[in-house]
């Protein structure tokens, strides 16, 4: 308890679920308000800008499809970060795992161009997962055996993965007809995910929803998920109960990397139909924000990913106006910043109590 004049700030025993949801909605509103101030200060109409963004993201069927297209990779990377975070592991390497997953899936697409679609596509999903998992395996094993910080190792491996894909498209996989652009040759139709009607929305979105359900069930209803929850809350208790800490660290990192790897598969097979260096607009990093906003739960991640997808699509629409689209980054940053800050504040309650209370120095606690 702290006293600031007549105000007493004290810790709540539990932050209720409702408070927590309310905090998120309020944070988004506050961030939009902040963005409006910035826009107006720059001489742009906030009203018009938000209108444009809203129309582009939600106004009609095509707009909604674009939003879901943008949300798809974020669901995967958000889940990847969330699964690891449940065990207090920070996978900052979803970006690199995405690239590796894309490369592994592409390799299948190039190796078996004439395989039947019903066989090739599932195989590419598996390859994407394996590629991503392989990229996360090293950090997982190092963390489990030697305690090396996975934050550093996963982050550093991102650059390696991106440069590796760069090498592939400049070298062995380069399309001879690309007139110098670093692109692979296009996939055959059997390596392309089906899409809905004439929109760009592809089956990758359904795979993402499926992945969310799998992750949700895994954490909620399985022995493995139970262990992950216990380990995330208290490692001493997990050790006390005889849970295999090291093995679970590795397994969780593999699952996390696998999810990010499927994001890469879904992008190359559902959107660009080939592999090239710009398949990801920082999806791996945005996934960290998405996971945080979604409270590291699978349903939360899906909602947060759709929100961020909408922001991204809205941002593209702004490019046709005079408004600088980087306002979207400002909004994304502000939402995260305000939510995380508000999260902490939600754990306290401020009380008006002008009475004099005996001050006890902080150092005094019973031994």
């Amino acid at each position: 308890m702290r006293r600031l004049g007549p105000l007493v700030v004290e810790q709540r025993r539990v932050a209720s679920r409702w408070t927590s949801a309310l905090v998120r909605v309020a944070a988004i509103a506050l961030a939009l308000g902040l963005g409006a101030l910035i826009l107006e200060a720059g001489g742009y109409s906030a009203r018009d800008s938000y209108r444009t963004m809203w129309d582009a993201a939600f106004a009609n069927r095509d707009a909604l499809a674009e939003t879901l297209v943008a949300a798809t990779p974020l669901i995967f990377t958000g889940l990847a970060v969330a699964v690891a975070a449940r065990m207090l592991l920070w996978n900052i390497g979803a970006e690199g795992q995405l690239f590796l997953g894309a490369a592994a899936a592409s390799w299948l697409a190039f190796s078996f161009p004439d395989a039947p679609r019903g066989l090739l596509l599932p195989a590419m999903v598996v390859a994407g997962a394996v590629g991503g998992a392989a990229w996360a395996a090293g950090p997982g094993v190092l963390r489990a055996s030697l305690g090396v910080s996975e934050i550093v190792t996963t982050l550093m491996l991102n650059f390696v993965a991106i440069l590796f894909v760069d090498y592939l498209v400049h070298g062995p996989w380069r399309d001879p007809e690309s007139s110098g652009f670093p692109l692979s040759k296009p996939f055959t139709t059997s390596a392309i995910l089906p899409s809905f009607g004439d929109t760009r929305l592809h089956a990758g979105f359904l795979i993402a929803l499926g992945a969310a359900i799998v992750v949700w069930t895994l954490l909620r209803s399985t022995r493995f998920g139970y262990e992950v929850r216990v380990i995330g809350e208290s490692q001493p208790a997990a050790r006390y109960a005889g849970m295999p800490l090291r093995r679970n660290i590795v397994v969780v990192m593999l699952v996390s990397g696998g999810l990010a790897g499927i994001a890469g598969m879904s992008e190359v097979s559902g959107i660009v139909f080939r592999i090239q260096p710009d398949i990801s607009a920082g999806f791996g990093y945005t996934g960290i924000i998405v996971a945080t906003l979604g409270r590291f739960s699978a349903p939360g991640v899906v909602v947060a990913a759709i929100l961020f997808g909408a922001l991204q699509v809205g941002g593209y629409a702004l490019q046709t106006t005079e408004v600088p689209p980087s306002i979207v980054q400002v909004l994304q940053g502000a939402i995260l910043f305000i939510t995380v800050g508000a999260e902490v504040l939600a754990r306290y309650r401020v009380r008006w109590s002008p009475g004099r209370e005996k001050r006890t120095p902080l150092a005094e606690k019973a031994p």
């Binding site: 022995r223 216990v230 849970m243 120095p361 019973a366």
Partner: protein, 504 residues
């Protein structure tokens, strides 16, 4: 020494914490040039008293006189400026800095940063003067624990300490390092410093102290000059005559040996030898009590039996089967229940629900485990059964257990640990922090388990508790089983001597 004004006088110090009186009218006189031992068990109030003296706590009653004049320290800084230095059990050093940097860090004189060379020279001179061997340019992380302690002492001396308080200084040292420390302490005393050594080791007291103050349960129970009291008398003062020898467990028929420990040795988290060659047997229906001052290997013993700590040598057998390696899982499967000292830290998961906590041990086996899944209905049924049987009042089986009271937490833990008829129960400080009712419940449950044929290893600092429940009683000192006494031969004097590690 009488006649001169004491350097420090504490008069009638009272310090209360919620629920306990840590110091209850303590008097203490410290003279320049003396080594003063502050002797007492854990929780006797030694450290609290010194925290009052060093300005960390403010006394609720009583006064502190320095050179005969009353002082009131509002912060540790003021005590340091007045010449009072303390070396805590846990060092406060910056690992990545050098010895000299640590010594100079935060000291007020000189106000301007001394040149690097000058600083090193000053520290080297100081070290030389007090025979504290340590290289001023070495970095802290490169030093042994004993060397780090010397840096702490240097730090206090550099700040002009006239009174130096050492809290359990030999606890982390090898015997050779301890000898070197005592040389330094005598050297400092001969130069007119006053030194307070907080300890529970009787040999140490006899070897270095000029005067001895014994604290028990927050009260000053005796002051003696060197040689006035022998170890036996000191032990009696320390442990007290008020230990109730009246309540004693009814003798039960013991069965065969269930827990067999042979020559068990293990290291502490810091890598120091903490358990040395412990051999004991616990029979079915027997409560084997382990008494002793905390930090003498109790924790390591409990962890070795429950598979949480690897054995360096020796063996642990449960019902004739050895527990191999450090595997909590193997111990659980062998039927070892564990009531750990930190209920909410390791025995229970604070942030998870009562249900999730209830299945912490059962989640691997049917009916709670169904293939790779956890059966929610079975978990819920088990939880409700445990909560009902032990009258645990939970806000809701889904609310985090963090919200439950201490008594309820301990009942939930007991319920879970005894649910499957354990062969062995390791109970560590099982009633610590509980009220009378809670304590009663714990004792009743242990008694029931004993009657049901469990072999119980009861580790407790509370001598009353050990004597009320256990037969026989063993005492751990310095990682060794200093002695094992059958219940009818337990007397306080004997136990106190063993706890203090006095060599007969």
């Amino acid at each position: 020494m009488s006649g001169t004004t004491p350097l420090v006088q504490l008069r009638g110090i009272v310090k209360r914490f919620p629920g306990l009186v840590a110091n209850d009218g303590v008097d203490l006189e410290l003279h320049a040039g003396e080594v003063h031992a502050l002797l007492g068990e854990n929780g006797a109030g030694k450290t609290t008293l010194m925290n009052v003296l060093t300005g960390l706590y403010r006394p609720d009653e009583g006064e502190i006189l320095l050179d005969g004049r009353p002082v009131a320290f509002r912060a540790p800084r003021q005590a340091i400026e007045a010449g009072i230095g303390m070396v805590h059990q846990h060092f406060r050093l910056v690992d990545s800095l050098t010895v000299a940097e640590n010594v100079l860090l935060g000291s007020r004189s000189p106000r301007v940063w001394v040149g690097r060379r000058a600083g090193i020279r000053q520290v080297a001179e100081l070290a030389e003067r007090y025979r504290l061997q340590v290289h001023p340019e070495a970095r802290i992380w490169q030093l042994s624990v004993g060397e780090q302690q010397r840096v702490e002492i240097l730090k206090a001396l550099y700040r002009g300490a006239r009174l130096l308080i050492l809290d359990e200084p030999s606890a982390v040292l090898t015997p050779q390092e301890a000898d070197a420390l005592w040389d330094t302490v005598r050297e400092m005393a001969s130069r007119g410093e006053a030194i307070v050594v907080i300890t529970h080791k009787l040999d140490e007291v006899q070897a270095v102290a000029d005067r001895i103050t014994v604290l028990r349960r927050g009260r000053n129970v005796g002051v003696a000059v060197r040689g006035e009291l022998d170890s036996r008398a000191l032990a009696l003062l320390m442990v007290g005559r008020d230990v109730s020898l009246a309540t004693r467990p009814e003798p039960l028929e013991h069965g065969e040996v269930v827990l067999r420990i042979r020559g068990a040795s293990a290291r502490s988290d810091r890598g120091l030898p903490a358990l040395a060659d412990v051999t004991l047997d616990v029979q079915a229906g027997q409560v084997f009590g382990i008494a002793g001052v905390a930090g003498n290997g109790q924790r390591e013993l409990a962890e070795v039996v429950t598979g949480l700590r690897p054995l360096e040598a020796g063996s642990v057998e449960v019902a004739g089967r050895p527990l191999h390696g450090a595997s909590a899982r193997a111990a659980i499967d062998a039927g070892v229940a564990h009531i750990p000292e930190d209920r909410l830290g390791s025995g229970l998961v604070a942030g998870l629900s009562a249900t999730d906590n209830a299945i912490l041990k059962a989640y691997r086996r049917p009916p709670v485990s169904r293939g790779p899944l956890v059966d929610r209905r079975a978990s819920r049924a088990l939880t409700e059964q445990l909560l009902a049987a032990f009258e645990v009042s939970a806000v809701s089986p889904d609310a985090p257990v963090r919200l439950m009271s201490g008594g309820n937490l301990q009942r939930l833990l007991l319920a879970r640990e005894t649910a499957e008829r354990p062969k062995v129960i390791v109970a560590v400080h099982p009633t610590r922090g509980l009220d009378v009712g809670g304590t009663e419940t714990v004792r009743r449950v242990l008694r029931e388990q004993q009657e049901a044929g469990a072999a119980i290893l009861l580790i407790s600092e509370d001598l009353d508790e050990v004597l009320a429940l256990a037969d026989p009683v063993g005492v751990l000192h310095d990682g060794r089983l200093a002695g094992v006494l059958p219940r009818e031969r337990c007397d306080v004097e004997e136990l106190g001597l063993l706890m203090g590690g006095a060599t007969p």
